[in-house]
Subunit: 219 residues, 2 copies
DNA sequence: CTGGCAAATAATGTATACATTAAATTTCAA
DNA sequence: TTGAAATTTAATGTATACATTATTTGCCAG
């Protein structure tokens, strides 16, 4: 069962947006995108509607779909929501009495970040960091939180593509991650939440300062 | 510029779902819904896609769209997310130095709840309670939180339609609301968050116990 | 009578044709 | 020349026709 064209359109459009082929702020006609993806307007429209509801683009009558830029203020909003929902997840995860084998994926992502930092492999670090946050929320067992965080990570990923090489090497970051892991393993929900919240708040401040400093008001 | 059929389909389908005309768990063909709304399948499909992404229904190939029931576990998830995002909003709102005139809408909703409780007008109470939560999040100035809370309030509303008349009269509730309002006015973010979080957690416990007691596993 | 295969059926997924309408362009009068 | 009205244009919004495919039904063999 080859997946539907609508699904293909969603993932290919996302690809095009994340890779910068469709730059933030640019406009594109439905027919143009349909031709590019070699399908009719119908699945493209359906895909665009989905991506619109996820905040990646806006459909504007007779102006085409606009790839939405991510502003510094957007980043503030996104980080605030992520902080809350991941904090919740960390606290809840600690309450489920997970054993070491339940936490292998989380531990592995931390180990990978360590390795990546040492090797100065920023892309690898970013990938492992994504995995950490995704896995953390999964452990929190709230499907809605998982969905929301997943959506917003997309936007963070977009911003990170620009800021990855101008930010400091994330070394402190991993101490926090390990702290969260340990607190979850120890069943201390309040601690897990506290550490993670602080971690995310620092990340937010850092990113916002970076954007400010480099006059990156939109990404 | 009469609004598009897709928009109409979205609001009419929501209406049909919330009113129970399309009961939870029921299946409906796209063509059937199209005929009922007196339009073609295209806008109905687009509307269904939107409502699917909002968790109100699921489109299942060749089985029609299924109106999703809300389980007790769904309610737990929803309340957990609402608690976090509204808690965040309360804290942030306190930081913006709002004056009395900025808080009139919030204060009005509380006053209306008081009146409704006294008059035993449960529907009115529910409406004012909705307004309180919506306004609270608005004051937090995070458009993403506003959108998410709005979506989830839809589901809460659905559950409340069933539980409204079997739950205790909400009297304690208003003391909490007033506490949150005062804390915001006083600029005490931590307090505003603490009160609101406790409030929501109690509401969650109450609802879940109610569902348990009345064997309402799905709504 | 039963089980499996084949044909028919019925629903979604997709393409395309058409309607609608905002925007742009052109024309005409002051 | 300028401005407004009318016409044209071009894009989306919608309807419909068609393709695809899972399911179901019915037939036939064992």
């Amino acid at each position: 069962m080859s997946q539907s064209n609508t699904q293909r359109a969603i993932s290919e459009l996302r690809q095009l947006i994340f890779s910068g082929v469709l730059p933030a702020g640019s406009d594109h006609l439905e027919s143009e995108l349909a031709e590019r993806l070699d399908m009719s307007r119908t699945p493209v429209r359906e895909a665009a509607l989905m991506l619109e509801s996820q905040g990646l683009l806006a459909m504007r009558p007779r102006k085409g779909v606009r790839i939405l830029p991510v502003s510094a203020d957007d980043m503030r909003e996104i980080y605030d929501v992520l902080t809350e929902l991941e904090g919740l997840s960390a606290e809840r995860a600690a309450g489920y009495g997970y054993g070491d084998d339940d936490l292998t994926a989380l531990a592995a992502s931390i180990a990978d970040m360590d390795k990546a930092v040492e090797a100065r492999a920023l892309e690898d670090w970013a990938e492992a960091d994504d995995r950490f946050h995704t896995e953390l929320v999964r452990l929190g067992r709230n499907s809605r939180a998982v969905a929301i965080v997943g959506m917003m990570q997309d936007q963070v990923r977009r911003a990170r593509a620009t800021t990855l090489y101008i930010r400091p090497i994330p070394t402190q970051s991993n101490a926090d991650h390990r702290g969260v892991l340990d607190a979850i393993g120890a069943g201390d929900g309040a601690l897990a939440r506290r550490i993670h919240t602080r971690h995310r708040d620092q990340a937010k401040r850092m990113i916002l300062e970076l954007l400010e400093k480099h006059r990156l008001h939109t990404l």
